[in-house]
């Protein structure tokens, strides 16, 4: 029988220092923010251009793809540059957020040995670090679409696929991070799966132009569905059928809460097995 009851009460000793601290959820928010900020700072600390890299990096990617697909492989896809950019940036975030969850857990494992805090905050913070660049990239594509293409009311809804992808990536990040406790090679396996996933996701191709089996996979895949939604809102000025939207939302939210639930169920093993 294992039963731990820990309830927090105010300090009862009369002469203990009276410091009013923050509430629980406020504290969790602070932890995520501080962990995410130090990671973000560290990521760009040693480079000469510093934070400017976070802006420059997507621009350079854009330049490379634009060159390749305007001069080397000319695509027949309508508005291909925007199509490609949305795919690349969204899939990049998915890769970044899910794979950084394992690294974050490994680096913070020493911290988990000295103080109790909900361990999922580690994964939340690694996602938050990835969201910094993701948000910049998304704003950038929106700007490109609005300046070079068109402006429409539907573009406001880009926020929906943006949030869905964050939920999906964080949920999957929690799942693979918890698997890492017992299976150390999960990071290698995940790298391979991500490469496979790249081709099973309509990043560079249009699912309606590829053979049926691949097209089916591409449209079942949640990242693919998010991309279909995003491109509808941002580029093609249309929206997917409601059933498609609702099922995608339910799936992403479901994955997030399932990942959270499974992580909380096993997180007590982290200080023991990872550190």
């Amino acid at each position: 029988m294992t039963n731990i009851q820990t309830t927090t009460v105010n300090i009862t000793a009369d002469n203990a220092p009276a410091v009013r601290r923050t509430t629980k959820w406020r504290q969790y928010y602070n932890i995520v923010r501080e962990l995410a900020l130090v990671d973000f700072r560290k990521k760009y600390h040693d480079s000469t251009l510093g934070y400017f890299w976070s802006m420059l990096n997507p621009l350079l990617i854009f330049a490379v793809y634009h060159f390749v697909f305007s001069y080397l492989f000319v695509s027949k896809l309508h508005k291909f540059t925007l199509y490609l950019l949305t795919g690349v940036f969204f899939y990049n975030f998915f890769m970044d957020a899910t794979s950084s969850a394992i690294g974050a857990l490994r680096r913070r494992s020493r911290l988990t040995k000295t103080i109790y805090f909900p361990r999922y905050l580690i994964v939340f913070s690694s996602s938050a670090t990835a969201v910094f660049s993701f948000a910049i990239n998304t704003l950038l594509i929106c700007a490109v679409a609005m300046i070079f293409d068109h402006v429409s009311f539907l573009q406001i809804f880009v926020i929906v696929p943006f949030i869905l992808l964050i939920l999906l990536a964080t949920g999957i990040g929690m799942m693979i991070a918890i698997l890492f406790i017992h299976f150390r090679d999960i990071s290698d396996i995940w790298t391979v799966l991500l490469t496979l996933g790249f081709w099973l996701t309509p990043v560079m191709y249009d699912p309606t132009y590829v053979p049926a089996p691949l097209a089916n996979v591409a449209l079942l895949n949640p990242v693919g569905r998010i991309l279909v939604m995003l491109r509808g809102f941002l580029i093609y000025d249309n929206y997917p059928p409601w059933t498609f939207t609702i099922s995608t939302i339910l799936f992403c939210v479901g994955i997030f809460f399932f990942g959270w639930w499974i992580f909380v169920k096993y997180e007590h093993r982290i200080p023991e097995y990872v550190a």
Binding site: T12, A16, P17, R108, L111, F183
Partner: protein, 246 residues
């Protein structure tokens, strides 16, 4: 009030050197997954009253740190119940789980959030922490560039910012020079005067005798004796070689 009832903690130490999915599949098909069981704590029951200063002494590997981690809620016991009805400070130990590739300031802010302070509140404390740790000049230095003594001072300075009524201390007087050790002692005196509950693991018998109201001797995961500090220290010193083999 901290109540431990029949706490046991078993660590499974696998015979395989690595724990990979690949190894697991191989080992299931060949000879199964085997491991060694290490009983770090065996049926420990313990009550600590509010405001008590309890020392824990014992050899290396006798289960002292595991016991602190179980009380702190970091390790889940294999069996038994832990009841702690007060907030607990971080386990004050060497290094405090700092990330060595971050600067002192970064580590201070991360820990501040873990202790429940907002960034604003921490900003006011930073100077005090750095002054106590005698590291004002190295605020932006990465921790990995500092000496172990400096890191310990920083850890101590941060951990005592905790206002938690229960404080767990794991062998902190070992590093640090005489001047700093004296600073630590004055902090312990203050914490004691504030009526905080302190559980203190140490090999420093002088400090144990000076501060503790009660001392527990642990050997091989069991409580061997529990009682008056000077009697326990004498018992421990006389039996240190003998109790190792029981």
């Amino acid at each position: 009030m901290i109540i431990l009832e029949n706490i046991s903690k078993v660590f499974k130490i696998p015979h395989e050197r690595t724990k990979t999915l690949f190894h697991k599949i191989i080992s299931i098909s060949k000879r199964g997954y085997t491991y060694e069981e290490l009983f770090a704590l065996k049926n420990i029951s313990l009550r600590v009253r509010q405001g008590e200063f309890v020392g824990i002494i014992g050899k290396n590997g006798s289960g002292k740190s595991t016991l602190l981690r179980v009380i702190a809620g970091i390790y889940r016991p294999s069996s038994g119940t832990v009841t702690v009805n007060e907030e607990i400070s971080p386990l004050l130990e060497l290094g405090l789980g700092f990330d060595p590739s971050f600067s002192c300031l970064d580590n201070i802010y991360v820990y501040g959030a873990l202790l429940g302070y907002s960034r604003k509140q921490m900003a006011k404390k930073v100077e005090e922490i750095l002054a106590f740790a005698e590291l004002e000049r190295f605020a932006d230095a990465k921790l990995e560039t500092l000496s172990s003594g400096m890191r310990m001072r920083l850890a101590f300075a941060i951990a005592i910012q905790s206002v938690a009524p229960v404080i767990l201390v794991d062998e902190v007087l070992a590093v640090g020079d005489k001047v700093f050790a004296e600073k630590c002692r004055s902090v312990f005196r203050r914490l004691k005067a504030e009526g905080r509950t302190i559980i203190f693991v140490s090999h420093d018998m002088g400090a144990i005798k000076e501060f503790c109201d009660r001392v527990i001797v642990i050997s091989d995961g069991r409580i061997v004796k529990d009682g008056d500090p000077s009697a326990m220290v004498t018992f421990y010193n006389q039996n240190i070689l003998k109790i190792a083999n029981t």
